[in-house]
Amino acid sequence: MLLKTKINTLIVIFVSLVIFYVLKINFDKIFLPTLSFISAFFISGFIGFILLFFSLHGIKKVILEKNILQEKNTKVENILVSLKKQIEEKEKMLVQKTESLSTLNRINKALSSIVDLDKILELILDALQKDLKFDRVILFLSNEKLKPKKTVGFDKNIDINNFVVSLEDKTNFLVKTFFDGRPKIITDIKEQQLPENFSQIYKNIYPNSVAIIPLVSKDIPVGLIIVDNISSKRDIEERDIRSLSIFTNQVALAIENARLFEMEKNFSQELQKQVEIAKKNLEIAQSQLIKSERLAALGEMSAIVAHEVRNPMASIRASAQRISKKISDTDPAKKYTVFIIQEVDRLERVVKDILTFSREPEPQKQPTNINALIKDTLYFLQSEIKQVQARVIENFDSTLSNINIDPALIKQVLLNILQNALNFMADRERRELKVVTYSSDGNIKIEISDTGPGIPEENLEKIFEPFFTTKPRGTGLGLAISSRLVESHKGKISVESKLGFGSTFTITLPI
């Protein structure tokens, strides 16, 4: 444009000079040379000015138009820039939304696959920090109290367990918000007073950069989340709360899921437990049935065997007794008759033991003084006690009330245990037989301790089994019978033993 203006101006100057020259030549002919020069100069100057005016007018118009165009261009450019900016922002938001959505999706997937509440909460809290750009997040779960469960962004030196809030304190802003169920942005920290123990973690905080979001599951408050922007100082707006609530809903859902899962787990565990108990009971009942059937069969058989064995035994013993009476004491055959009688008696003891063992005891209960019964039994055993030269220590609780038992059966039990004790002490240096009675937890206890060799640990469980014996002439039924007799009184026998020091049998009988 400038070039065109220059050329136009030069052309106008050139045309003006040509006009001046033509006019000068012609005016020289008419006027004086001085007058002709002035006239020609003014006329050519005037024409030149008019020409210049017109030529410049066109250019001015073009320039104006150009300026307008330029202005429009700038405007368009500005619009474009702002549009670009907006697009970029939208894109950013979109990315953010996509991220949030993908996080939500991830959380959703986790909710359906991970049953561990801890892991889900961790995932959600991480999302709050990374996707929603909060500096710090603290999550409380309620269980009588508001207890901090998880945090992100907090200094590791801070012990979150210090921030337990009692739900009783209804004036507390956190508790109020918890029960109110609506999110709150703290606009004035001083006025809204966080609990005193929170001042440590919220001391450098700005108003509007802290928000409390209650967690509600099925209309029941289950916890709350506090978010803040302690470093960025960015204000938390309603928009943030909306985004937050999407996540907090997930937390509530996760808690609900975990609760349901826990319930289901407990239920199935309980069910399994019940099934196992039922199975066990069935097994016990079955084994008891088998045992009692076997016992009945055994009882029947031993009764028959006893009958068949006792008849010949009767005639053998009576015959031996008659021979023994007929021969003199000096007769060498005398001792054999004694052997026959003794061995028949021994056989009879075996038969009796087998019969007792194979028969379900039928206690004929009557009120009995247990101390007197023990004394009676010890008296019965006095010859054996003398033979062994055992020292008997009686430590009876004289205040014991009478107890409903079959004295004959319990005497048999006492005899079995006391006789065993005496037998095993016979070769021992120290021979002490201690009998103690006392009451405990609605039971009467009889403790019979000896200073025998003790029972090896591997035999402790076997000694109450039938036919287990370590005595050369034992049937192995004494303790099995004793155990059964005590059980028929709903009591029990237990044993404690220290190898080399002796054993203690405890008979427990319910009062």
Binding site: A303, A306, H307, E308, V309, R310, N311, P312, M313, A314, S315, I316, R317, A318, S319, Q321, R322, V344, D345, E348, L355, R359, E362, Q364
Partner: protein, 125 residues
């Protein structure tokens, strides 16, 4: 020596019958041995012999000892009865027998104990 005392021994085991009766005879008793319950009851009901003691085994052919004892008592025969059995019986049965009889012995019985009991019962007559 006890004279004119008669014992009825109801027992089916032959050697036992022989040893017991030998012993009792030696002690001066008359001993009548019968090996089954029915004949023993017939003999008692006939009242041909005046028995002082009856010794009964519980396991007997034709009529067992339990039935025999009940029938003896039902017929108002009050002769002392001693049970001498090889068969084990339950406590509840023992109570019943204790009511109906005078002594219960389980085989093998000591002859001295048996004869002592017989003497004791006869003295109570």
């Amino acid at each position: 020596m006890e004279k004119n005392r008669t014992i009825l021994l109801v027992e089916d085991d032959t050697s036992t019958v022989e040893v017991y009766s030998d012993e009792l005879k030696e002690k001066g008793y008359e001993v009548i041995c019968i090996n089954n319950g029915r004949e023993a009851l017939e003999l008692l009901n006939s009242k041909k012999i005046n028995f002082n003691i009856i010794i009964i085994d519980l396991k007997l052919p034709k009529m067992d000892g339990e039935e025999l004892i009940k029938k003896i008592r039902n017929n108002h025969i009050n002769i002392p009865i001693i049970i001498c059995t090889a068969y084990p019986f339950k406590n509840s049965f023992k109570k019943l027998y204790e009511k109906l009889t005078d002594a219960i012995f389980t085989k093998p019985v000591d002859l001295d104990i048996l004869t002592n009991k017989i003497n004791e019962l006869i003295k109570q007559e």
